[in-house]
């Protein structure tokens, strides 16, 4: 089944090679790309954007947290409205490929540039690690190997693709990736819905709480898990004889398989809610009893964070001008809207057919595990292969984009050096991501990616929005605001990850800080700026971003210079 990913790799490399060959004489970004229509570019943006979090994570969160997880994709898509309204066209006109570039263009501050590069690293790794954990888990499920083998294989696949020069910045590769992911996600979803039969469909829409195993169920624990058993339960552990466990707490070790008898009560895991319960059915996110605040916080993080994702911003530079960038953002909303209609289907079917994933901590694999549960014949295997290929395409597209963005930040902004070093920095960054992913198996893909959004929303969002729309922004204001935003988002999320989630309102305040950290960063930036004085040219630096290139005369045309040779 591992072979499912080989065609994806090969096709990606092939299109990458061809695309690069077609555009090699000049730079893809600066000249050839100007012939690319906004629609193709929007497909490329969507292709790069649909990561393992969209392909696997959302459905997994539906099984684990409930119907409220439907909100994640809404935020992921709505981010492009803010991008369209506030950022796309003016940012394209600065000629800036990245936020550090923008900082330099708008405020002329090397300090801010370096600070922004640090933030790119934080966002990049927060986004990269879950991609690798997802790839590792999928390969573990499909291939039956341990988790760490999956992560290492994923790291090797990325490194090989990078070394062979696949998927450079070619827009067509990403556009192809989007079409591939769309087909590989939608076709199996339709097949599943038609194939499961009317009773499963009815159960998916009227879920029953998962309190008893309807049939003898095998649960493969991939992580050490503490179970609380409330009534005598018949179970056989690790292939041993069936025994009756008295009520109490038990430790299921990683790698063991428990077979629960039909009719046995489902043990409790941590503070989670079993799929199908009353609370699970509510369409709001509710980790600690404040559903509206928790849902808002996730929405604010995802909606305002989209504009700060380093691998996405680069894509907008492929548009010919600000006008094209804006159209690209608008079309992206539509393309993502089509894709995001489908994760809930996987989530709801998964909650009915594979609720035991909630016990084993493997909810992120629900999408890939569904076909085999529905159909044991070759057809099921075929769809498992298709979904694995799609998941891997999602992992690959996003990781490569992020690795290039991260290594760009290192070798351009933090340690400016020769461009030759750029060739090796991505490999180093991939190695770091693999090392970070190895101990992170327990963290949900969707949650960690949302943390990356929260950091972007608390740092780059105020910097970009105020930089583009407010002439009085000063360098001091921007620096202090970004630092405050970084500490209140990444710092707080780090505390939450390493010290564990506290109960109640604090769970939202620490686990999903965007609700307060974004306004705090905005307020800091504004207040500090008001105490200082912007340079005389600040107003012109801002206003020229709002002039259409074709009418702007000499303004905002810096980027028409030929690229430097190396």
């Amino acid at each position: 089944m591992i072979f499912a990913i080989v065609p994806v790799l090969l096709i990606t490399l092939l299109i990458g090679a061809r695309g690069v060959a077609a555009m090699r004489t000049t730079s893809d970004f600066l000249v050839a790309s100007r012939r690319i229509s906004p629609t193709v570019n929007a497909a490329a943006v969507s292709g790069e954007y649909l990561s393992a979090a969209s392909f696997l994570g959302v459905a997994g969160l539906v099984v684990k947290d409930g119907v409220g997880a439907f909100w994640y994709p809404v935020g992921f898509a709505a981010g492009y409205i803010v991008m369209l309204a506030l950022v796309a066209a003016p940012l394209r006109r600065t000629g800036a490929l990245t936020v550090p570039d923008f900082a330099e263009a708008r405020l002329g501050s090397p300090v801010l540039r370096r600070l922004a590069a640090v933030v790119v690293l934080v966002i990049g790794f927060l986004y990269l690690v879950p991609q690798f954990t997802a790839a590792g888990q999928v390969l573990a499920v499909v291939g039956g190997s341990p988790y760490w083998v999956g992560v290492v294989i994923a790291g090797a696949a990325v490194s090989i693709t990078l070394a062979l020069g696949g998927m450079r910045a070619a827009t067509y590769v990403q556009a192809f990736q989007f079409a591939l992911k769309l087909v590989l996600f939608i076709v199996p979803a339709i097949w599943l819905v038609l194939h499961v039969g009317p009773s499963t469909r009815a159960n998916a829409l009227e879920p029953v709480e998962f309190t008893r195993f309807p049939a003898a169920t095998q649960v493969q624990f991939r992580l050490d898990t503490e179970l609380t058993i409330t009534e005598p339960t018949r179970v056989s552990i690790g292939g041993g004889p069936q025994q009756v466990l008295p009520p109490g707490r038990y430790e299921a070790h990683a790698g063991t398989t428990w077979v629960f008898d039909a009719g046995a009560a489902v043990p409790q895991v941590g503070a989670g809610r079993p799929p199908g319960g009353r609370e699970w059915e509510r369409p709001l996110l509710d980790p600690g009893g404040y559903p509206v605040l928790a849902t808002w916080s996730v929405l604010i993080a995802t909606v305002f964070g989209t504009m700060g994702l380093p691998h996405i911003l680069v894509r907008f530079h492929t548009s010919a001008d600000g006008h094209g960038a804006r159209r690209t953002a608008a079309i992206t909303v539509g393309l993502l809207g089509v894709f995001y209609l489908f994760p809930p289907i996987y989530g709801l079917l998964g909650a009915v057919l594979l609720p035991e994933l909630y016990l084993s901590g493997g909810t992120d694999t629900v999408v890939v595990a569904l076909p085999a549960r529905v159909d044991q014949s070759w057809v099921g295997s075929l769809f498992t292969a298709l979904l694995t290929a799609g998941a891997f395409a999602a992992f690959l597209a996003t990781s490569l984009g992020l690795l290039l963005a991260v290594s760009g930040a290192i070798s351009h902004d933090l340690v400016p050096g020769t461009l030759r070093r750029l060739r090796f920095t991505p490999l180093g960054a991939a190695a770091v991501a693999v090392l970070l992913a190895l101990p992170a198996a327990r963290v949900d893909v969707g949650v960690l990616v949302t943390s990356a959004f929260a950091v972007a929303a608390s740092t780059f969002c105020p910097l970009l929005v105020l930089g583009i729309w407010w002439p009085r922004l000063t360098t001091q204001g921007a620096v202090v605001g970004v630092v405050v935003g970084l500490i209140s988002s990444a710092g707080v999320i780090g505390v939450d990850l390493f010290l564990g989630t506290p109960p109640g309102l604090l769970a939202i305040v620490l686990g999903q800080p965007a609700l307060w950290s974004v306004p705090l960063a905005f307020a800091t930036m504004v207040l500090v700026s008001l105490r200082g004085r912007p340079p005389a040219w600040a107003a012109a630096a801002m206003l020229r971003l709002h002039l259409d290139e074709s009418e702007a005369g000499s303004a905002a045309t810096d980027d028409f210079r030929p690229p430097r040779m190396s």
Binding site: A17, A21, R24, T25, D28, F29, L30, V67, W71, V74, G75, A77, A78, I81, V82, L84, A85, L86, A89, G95, A96, L97, D101, E104, A105, G108, P110, A169, L205, R282, P283, L284, L299, H317, H323, R327, A330, V333, G337, V338, H412, L419, W469, P535, W537, A540, A541, M542, L543, R544, H546, D548, S550, G553, A555, D558, P563, R564, M565, S566
Partner: protein, 123 residues
């Protein structure tokens, strides 16, 4: 594949930064001709207004819908084609609204930038 010279892709801003020679200020402080500045100011104001209208509508949708769903739990019981209405309100309803908002914003922004009398033939 023929071997051709590779060209490093760097943004103009990166090139300016790598070229060095600037400390604290951009290489040439940006300036605008008075007429351009006046027009830019007008466009800036109008674009900001449209953007805020669209973002206000977006906020009404994204902040209002969770409040509505929290306040009206009976929506879970109402079903359309067998699916709870409250689920549809999150899983399906937002996407057409988002597309409509995007379309609206795009129309307004492009009209502001290029008044009809000076419209050009390109897309």
């Amino acid at each position: 594949m023929t071997r051709q010279r590779r060209i490093a892709v760097t943004s103009p801003q990166t090139r300016l930064a790598l070229a060095g020679g600037r400390r604290g200020v951009p290489p040439a402080p940006p300036h605008l001709a008075p007429a351009d500045a006046e027009r830019a100011r007008r466009i800036h104001r109008r674009q900001l207004r449209y953007a805020l209208i669209v973002l206000g509508l977006l906020a009404a949708l994204l902040l209002g819908l969770p409040v509505l769903l929290a306040a009206a739990p009976w929506l879970d019981e109402v079903r359309f084609a067998g699916i709870p209405v409250s689920w549809l309100a999150v899983a399906v309803l937002p996407y057409p609204v988002l597309v409509a908002l995007a379309w609206c914003q795009l129309r307004w922004a492009e009209r502001t930038e290029r008044p009809p009398r000076r419209a050009r033939g390109r897309g």
